[in-house]
Assembly symmetry: C2
Homo-oligomer: 285 residues x 2
């Protein structure tokens, strides 16, 4: 922002393709703190205007791949990070231009949950010479979560058992490229996330919960998930929603789930009496 365009052209610029939520803002803050040049490609309808308005940015349409790449290059971008929530749109609304159709042609027209994102990354790297990095490469603090409790509330034995059950279900589901989160209570799986998002899952499962100790949200990346574009994320809003829904805690895979605004999240969890804990688990590809 304080740099002129010519200054920015002199050094590699990180292109932040910004969707909704707080992660794009965290990456922007991180770049400012580190003095790293960046340019925000803000997705219309998803990115938060307040987050991007006082930074070097350009609003782009979700499907305008050709135009987005042109704007990125004009602003010296050679590396791209995709950050923030995007409700998966229909293929037609996502993909209207010529470059987009080329990507689709390469990927085949039938796509699973991850197929499309992978195709886009492969296309950008192989055909456009654009490097794609993961949020966890840029935001090492948010992505680095050691095993163990994050806040003050400890994980009960019953919750430990529910976490194991949740991981079993997610491991099974991952084979079919579905699901990043489940909700378990006393061994019973109250809900499985498909494309509705974790927020909707929490609210739904809250309405199905039984008496006794509250349910546990268990979240981990899918096996073979394209980590550079779609790492699962929790944030302060996740804790607030889980507390409202009567949950007892949240378990995530260590180093496998991004935590937006970690300090605030831990404070909210402690205040609400929710545990937030990371479990160990190797990435299995």
């Amino acid at each position: 922002m304080s740099m002129s365009r010519d200054d920015r052209m002199d050094q590699p610029v990180l292109g932040i393709v910004a969707g909704g939520g707080t992660l794009p803002g965290e990456i922007i803050r991180h770049c400012i703190d580190e003095g790293r040049p960046y340019f925000v490609l803000a997705l219309k309808g998803f990115a938060d205007p307040e987050t991007v308005e006082n930074t070097p940015h350009h609003w782009v349409r979700m499907g305008a791949v050709g135009k987005t790449l042109r704007i990125a290059r004009e602003n010296g971008v050679d590396t791209i990070v995709l950050a923030g929530r995007v409700s998966r749109p229909s293929i037609t609304s996502l993909m209207p231009d010529a470059k987009a159709l080329k990507i689709l042609g390469k990927s085949g027209l039938r796509l699973g949950d991850d197929g499309l994102l992978k195709s886009i990354v492969i296309y950008l790297e192989e055909n456009e010479g654009m490097k794609v990095v993961g949020i966890h490469d840029v935001l090492q603090d948010a992505a680095s979560v050691p095993p163990g409790p994050l806040g003050r509330v400890r994980v009960s034995d019953e919750a430990e058992s529910d976490i194991r059950r949740g991981r079993d279900v997610l491991d099974a589901l991952a084979r079919a490229d579905v699901g990043q989160a489940v909700v378990v209570q006393a061994g019973l799986v109250l809900g499985v996330e498909a494309i509705e998002g974790t927020d909707a899952l929490i609210t739904r499962a809250g309405g199905l919960k039984r008496d006794g100790q509250g349910p546990v949200l268990v979240k981990q990346p899918k096996i073979g998930q394209e980590e550079r574009v779609d790492l699962p994320t929790i944030g302060p809003d996740t804790v607030e929603r889980a507390a409202e829904a009567g949950f007892s805690g949240i378990a995530i895979r260590a180093d496998g789930v991004l935590i937006a605004d970690k300090e605030k999240l831990i404070r909210l969890a402690d205040d609400a009496g929710l545990f937030v804990a990371a479990f160990e688990g190797a990435q299995r590809d």
Copy 2:
């Protein structure tokens, strides 16, 4: 009904433990048609009063296992069939009496989705000398569904592909004893059923669907599911709900899913332009 109690004591009586929905009524009609003696143990809060009121019946509480068994024996019941929807209650509300606690003790206190039902069946057979038969043993027509289309609407190639994707997801999930149904559209899994029930799944997925050909509901029994108490079921209301939600069709495993009121279901599906089709697939235990 036309039989006196003494008549009924002379021959084995089928005890119909009746939950919600149309299946208990179908079993009652079947027994009347076949001249098979029966006695309905109607679950308070679940069974439809109109369905049971003009038949030999007694209302019982969900958790009153001891009392239910006594009433069953007093009415000559030696074989039990459990039929109809029961929203899974909390363990405490399901299981208040001494016999119930004995069953719980045998099963362990932590139960997956199927564990409790299996425990009840094993207990009734081993400790109470009560035979438990499946709905498909009694209602052979509803349970017998040959592979292929059931109505007039044919399955498109895209729908075939969505059915395959749905089956892959259900096969993966079954390993974790979760899920009888998924909704798929153009390769994308819109929703996975946990304990919310197929009706809730259909409505939710309808709200998440994309442009283009409507989603497909895919339903099959879980691997190792206790078929005597919990076979998945579709009925005319499933078709109505799927049509309202903009679905293109329903696929079930041949001989693996009960169809309540088959004629009406097919008529409604034909009228709404929905396909209903059964796919082949061996029961894998």
